[in-house]
């Protein structure tokens, strides 16, 4: 029983980490209707920026207080992501207004290759460290109830808390502020939004900036867990089932979807895996998402696609 709870908690934590990445997808899709294939590359780029700045700031500016230079590195990396967002809007999205979804998807693929190349050229392809002081040792809880205690990873706990705060903040942003309303209008119909005077280009820059910051937070947390290097962009593939399970347009859906996928993955790998030789968690996550989709084709919280003849 204890081990089952451990796996469950581990799954919940892993799920929260996936939702961090999934949030970036959802944000951009919600606001511009673009499925941002480049989200994984953005997470990597942001993490690389922060890791390298965290190295260069103490080296060149002589600041040794870890809290301070990590904050500065974070701020600098956020600025870099703002620049990327502005460039993406100016060079790519502006010219592809109201094109089909697949064209925009392909454009984000081009951005992926571009970011991969530029990121590794500027920041290097080695493994870099992000150390934001996350606790690495595990926490043994409920030692009186279960023998040996329940293993809870403190790092994952902190990450889950950060993800929850981020989601709460983003939900409020979309629901309560006028910019959020404008974003939802743009997601609905670009041309209609433009015709009532919403400045499309500024909205897109804002959305990609926010997605960039979310990518930075995700990159920081995953980078702190795994070290920053190229495989970090593969995390996006693990987050895709979360996106479709929760619904492409729902921020709370990203969290709920993440929790479900995380738990499903870990439970299946630990309890079903040994019977079939192991290694099943990735396809199980996708199959789980697929099964949910058969009942709710737009994901749990996604907007219903209405076809008019």
């Amino acid at each position: 029983m204890g081990f089952f709870l451990e796996t469950l908690i581990g799954g919940l934590m892993a799920g929260m980490l996936y939702s961090l990445v999934a949030l970036g997808f959802v944000l951009i899709f919600k606001a511009s209707g673009v499925f941002n294939f480049a989200q994984g590359a953005m997470v990597l780029f942001a993490a690389l920026a922060m890791a390298r700045f965290a190295e260069w700031v103490p080296e060149y500016a002589g600041i040794t207080n870890p809290v301070l230079f990590n904050l500065i590195a974070f701020a600098l990396a956020a600025v870099v992501m703002f620049v990327v967002a502005w460039l993406v809007e100016y060079l790519v999205l502006k010219h592809l207004v109201n094109q089909e979804g697949t064209t925009l998807l392909m454009a984000t693929l081009g951005i992926t290759y571009f970011l991969d190349g530029v990121g590794q050229t500027i920041f290097g392809s080695d493994i870099y460290k992000i150390d934001v002081g996350m606790p690495k040792e595990p926490l043994m809880a409920f030692q009186s109830v279960f023998e040996g205690g329940l293993l809870i990873s403190q790092e994952d706990l902190v990450a889950a808390a950060i993800a929850a705060c981020l989601v709460a903040g983003l939900s409020l942003f979309f629901q309560k502020t006028s910019t959020g309303r404008a974003l939802r209008a743009v997601a609905d119909d670009h041309q209609a939004a433009q015709s009532i005077g919403i400045p499309l280009d500024r909205i897109w820059v804002i959305v990609w900036c926010v997605a960039g910051v979310v990518a930075l937070v995700a990159g920081m947390i995953w980078g702190s867990k795994l070290g920053v290097q190229f495989s970090l962009s593969e995390v996006a593939l693990r987050a895709l089932p979360v996106v479709i399970l929760g619904g492409l347009t729902s921020v709370p859906g990203a969290i709920i979807g993440g929790l479900i996928i995380g738990v499903g993955e870990k439970l299946s790998e630990v309890f079903l895996g040994p019977y079939v030789g192991g290694g099943i968690e990735i396809w199980f996550a996708y199959v789980l998402a697929l099964v949910f989709l058969l009942f709710r084709p737009q994901g749990l919280f996604g907007e219903k696609i209405i076809d008019r003849v």
């Binding site: 451990e6 796996t7 581990g10 990873s153 867990k225 495989s231 995390v235 790998e269 192991g278």
Partner: protein, 436 residues
Amino acid sequence: MKLHHLVMATTLAAATLLPSVASAQAKEQFFPVLPYRTGAYAPNGVPWANGYADYLKLINARDGGINGVKISMEECDTAYATDRGVECYERLKGKAQGAIFQPLSTGITFALTEKAPGDKNPLITGGYGRSESSDGGVFKWNFPLMGTYWSGADIIMQHLTKKEGGNLKGKKIALVYHDSPYGKEPIPLLQERAKMQGFDLSLLPVTAPGVEQKATWLQIRQQRPDYVLLWGWGVMNSASLKEAVATGYPREKMYGVWWSAAEPDVKDVGEAAKGYNGLVVTGEGGKVIADIKTHVHGKKQGTGPLDEVGTTLYNRGLVSAALAVEGVRQAQSRYGKGKVMNGEQIRWGLENLTLDQKALEKLGLGTIMKPISTSCLDHEGSRSARVHTWDGKKWNLTSDWIEADDSIIKPLVKQYADKYAAEKKLTRRTPADCQS
């Protein structure tokens, strides 16, 4: 066709404008290099490639080439992808009569094993590739020099047996492996040993590239194995160590193969990886590292940063280059000193390579590698390694040389080599063919 013409045109233009364009001239031995300097496995591939390139530069700078024949080399980045590796191979193989290929990837090795014999290019797969290719009777052109995965797994098991006082009966050993042909290689040998020695082997695959391993390590926490063998590459290694920290599995009980126990794997885990053990086949740098620092880095010709010189993977790349160079030198001893060697001749050289301690000392390699001696039926040459342990800042040797147990490995090699020969409808080489 336009591409072909464009390339020819630009090459011609470049050749006329810049007379010092590097091209394989008639009197140079061409060494193609197939590294991966980009992609998910770059952190491990780059030091290897730098060691390889630096040693070749050293031979040119210090010795003036191999008996006067200078070395020319060209790199083609494979990014660890099989089809890019095949494309690089096709592009580089035409540049010289005989070229030794070392793809540093089990996937590319499998693809090139099919192509290299037809093209008469020897394939050195030092420390990786197909374990059964040490049988030169079937695999004429493959040279898994200085150890295959079966030798490596065997050495770790011998070390563990010794640690447990000679008896592993009833112990639990878990293999955390990269879910790919590379990771699956040691399984036959470990299963054989499990039968022989009575320990419990549990196999835990990690889907490539291995970024999220929580489920695997939760299972390890549940099973509580006595030892965990790590067979990963790239980010999987450091991710495994970090998850081991996160689930509280003692790193002292973890043993990695030589590709899972190098600086990039433990550098960012740092202190937390203290006590982690791994195999290493190279030793202290000694004279050759000093020479590289003088002749190559001293003249600003170093391929990578200076502080990388002498690290585990750098040394491994260096030794791989050294074996290739010695193969050519051995070929020259039979087919003409001071001449450029072709593929067949180099293959003979690699098959009749004998480097004893004295010869190694003369080359400056006395401390960095162990003596090696290949033959027609044994393309591995030597099969021993040592265990080194991470102390938080660097690797320290913690065992003597351990030799893999041929009595277990040889039958397995023969069994799998025969299977390969039957599948491909090859016949074993005759003794006469061995003498040629």
